[in-house]
């Protein structure tokens, strides 16, 4: 193979890596990408720098505590944003303004106004954006192919059940009288050890905000339509940290789409005791010619053995190429100009749907998605 035939390797700047590191790891695992450096702002607290440094050391790449300096000194193609949710957009905007394409962790932001700024920056700089999602899981690929084939006809309703059977600190009702409320950030920092720190940041995030992107991403993938109106109910039903910080851990959403499709989403962080594996996650789609029931976990294998640790999943997912296919999708977007599977406008819309849900749960009324 000549040099001319060698496909380009895209150089990646990791802009903060403070959560579980699945996103930069997925980028590093794809043969068309190379992690070059980690960067973050110097005024972050010590725990942020510790995590950034640890990740940089893992890949033997520099950690630069100055984003502008990193952008100036290195020749990057893409930025990988994996900070706290409240900083996602700001870091992504700075990367886009430096001409970098962006892969950002979910949620896109906890504010629609921030998403608007990011959409403007991505489009003004003519760069690509991919919001991390699970739309390439094998069951989702199958669902998409089945619907696109016309096997069940035109969709008129879609429902997603998305229950993560994870704990999140002490159960609801366990705080003793006189004890202080649980500090959100401290709880999330503790949760880093078991990877359940998806809501890490100063601002508390409910389950709709943390994980809602995934099921709403499924709805968008399978319908190709946007949500127009929602009615939502939320509760703090399981975890004391959610109670103390007034953010949901269980929610139900009914929605109407611009296309006339209606649907619903039920989501919750329902506790580890409530499912033998990661949780019950299903899609129910109804079409003019038939219907589809999809279990997100499939394919999987079951493994049981003597002295099996109780926290080990008995059913294990297999053939999961979601990470690879997302990054392949990103490569394709970079090289052909096509859209990514979940671009900046899609991410902004999903954030707006979540915001409308939270408004609806407070007002008790149906709310238009703006």
């Amino acid at each position: 193979m000549s040099v001319a035939d060698t496909p380009k390797t895209y150089k990646a700047l990791v802009l903060s890596v403070v959560k579980h590191a699945y996103l930069p790891l997925a980028v590093a695992a794809h043969p068309r990408f190379e992690l070059v450096a980690v960067a973050d702002d110097a005024d972050n607290p010590a725990w942020v720098h510790e995590r950034n440094q640890k990740f940089a050391d893992q890949f033997s790449i520099p950690y630069i505590q100055n984003v502008a300096q990193a952008l100036a000194e290195y020749d990057f193609d893409i930025a990988v944003v994996s900070s706290e949710a409240e900083r996602h957009c700001d870091l992504a905007i700075r990367a886009a303004n430096a001409g970098l394409h962006v892969v950002a962790d979910k949620p896109m932001s906890n504010r629609v106004s921030e998403c608007d700024r990011l959409v403007e920056a991505i489009q003004r700089n003519n760069v690509k954006f991919l919001l991390w999602n699970r739309n390439f899981l094998p069951a989702l690929v199958q669902a998409k192919e089945t619907i696109d084939s016309g096997a069940i006809g035109d969709l008129y309703a879609i429902h997603v059940d998305f229950y993560f059977s994870k704990d999140a600190g002490p159960p609801k009702g366990t705080r003793n009288a006189g004890d202080p409320p649980i500090n959100w950030l401290e709880r999330q920092l503790e949760a880093h050890a078991d990877g359940s720190d998806g809501g890490v940041g100063k601002e508390p995030l409910g389950e709709l905000q943390i994980e809602g992107i995934y099921p709403l991403g499924y709805v968008y993938l399978l319908t190709g339509a946007t949500v127009a109106r929602v009615f939502a109910t939320t509760a703090t039903h399981f975890h004391q940290a959610n109670v103390d910080n007034n953010v949901d851990d269980l929610a139900a959403v009914s929605f109407e789409m611009e296309s006339g499709i209606v649907g619903s989403l039920c989501i919750g962080r329902i506790g580890a005791a409530s499912h033998p594996d990661i949780g019950e996650i299903k899609i129910h789609a109804l079409g003019a010619k038939g219907s589809l029931v999809i279990s997100e976990a499939r394919p999987e294998v079951s493994v049981y053995y003597r002295d099996q640790p109780p926290i080990e999943f008995r059913n294990r997912r297999i053939a999961n190429e979601n990470d690879f296919l997302l990054m392949d999708n990103f490569v394709n977007a970079l090289e052909t100009g096509s859209d990514t599977i979940l671009n900046e406008k899609d991410g902004r819309h999903i954030t707006a749907v979540v915001q409308a849900c939270l408004e609806s749960s407070k007002s008790g009324k149906m709310v238009d998605v703006l």
Binding site: T233, I270, L286, A288, V293, G364, K365, M366
Partner: protein, 320 residues
């Protein structure tokens, strides 16, 4: 042991189903049968073990009133008011279904003609084995306080026993309110402009509990599907046809077939009725229970057309 003498009033086909559970009943037997249509009297008699056949309910009550202890009436909602009115004249206890009424107004009209103490509305859906198993887990406290109930119910285009949206949604509204043990405080419902046979319902309870139900009656090829998820504070239950399917591999794709459960639910319900009459159980379901469910159903139908939220105020649902 004293046997309770039962009379069945219904179609020959339904008589066959009730006849198939005769040998499971404790303390009761079929002694009389009246068809909905006069021509079916002999067919029903055969499947109910030789029960005495009459041409109609009125005829049955005229000739066999002394030998019959209780009535089991199984008929379409439209036929029930007249049947119940006729039956009430005998003052016999009766189990009436599969759905006594599909609106609160219809139920009030029926109960005006019958003493509530002798009228037990059928709720066969409560006696489905999966529903019973989940309810037992709830009652045992295994799931903790219920936070969410999710039901997907898809019926085929021509499923027998479906008589419009109220009749189709009442069983699941009943299951949800039975599990929660209270009345929803707020509700919305939506119908797709793309499919008039479809409805979805969203209920909100005072303790923050929520229910989401989607129901269609347009599945092709005679198939149907049911899925129930109950999420509680300390556990969850999943009663799901998806899990209960076996496979037939005979062509391009394997076909899923649900494992049969026969008429276990009818036997359970009838036994409960019998035990209630024998005094060993309190009535499982009353017309007052059904009225509360029908108030929800009425409100659902109203808001589905208006895209509004309905709120429970002073014993009624009011559109906001």
């Amino acid at each position: 042991m004293q046997q309770l003498n039962l009379a069945f009033i219904g179609s020959a086909a339904d008589a066959q189903q009730y006849g198939s559970i005769s040998n499971r009943l404790h303390g009761a037997r079929w002694v009389a049968f009246a068809p909905l249509e006069k021509t079916q009297s002999s067919a029903g008699r055969e499947v109910l073990g030789g029960a005495r056949a009459s041409a109609s309910l009125a005829d049955l009550l005229t000739h066999h009133q002394k030998t019959v202890d209780a009535l089991v009436i199984h008929a379409p909602p439209a036929a029930l008011p007249d049947l119940v009115k006729t039956a009430a004249q005998s003052d016999k206890p009766m189990l009436v279904g599969p759905l006594l009424a599909n609106t609160s107004g219809a139920l009030r009209a029926i109960t005006e003609t019958s003493s509530q103490g002798t009228l037990m509305p059928a709720t066969p859906w409560r006696f489905i084995p999966a529903i019973q198993a989940v309810k037992a887990s709830i009652d045992a406290g295994k799931l903790g306080e219920i936070g969410l109930i999710r039901i997907h119910r898809w019926n085929a285009l021509a499923t027998e026993g479906t008589y419009g949206i109220p009749s189709r949604i009442i069983p699941d509204i009943d299951i949800a309110t039975w599990f929660f043990g209270s009345q929803p405080q707020k509700l919305v419902a939506q119908q797709s402009p793309l499919a008039d046979h479809y409805i979805q319902i969203h209920l909100h309870f005072e303790n923050g509990g929520m229910v989401v139900i989607d129901e269609t009656s347009a599945l092709p090829n005679g198939g149907d599907y049911f899925s129930l998820t109950v999420i509680g504070g300390t556990g969850a239950a999943y009663a799901d046809d998806h899990r209960n399917m076996n496979l037939i591999v005979d062509g391009v794709y394997p076909h899923a077939i649900r494992t049969g459960q026969r008429a276990v639910h009818l036997a359970q319900q009838l036994q409960k009725f019998i035990d209630t009459l024998a005094g060993t159980l309190q009535s499982a379901v009353t017309t007052h229970d059904l009225l509360k469910v029908l108030q929800v159903s009425d409100a659902v139908v109203e808001v589905a057309a208006t895209h509004r939220v309905s709120v429970w105020e002073d014993g009624n649902y009011v559109c906001g």
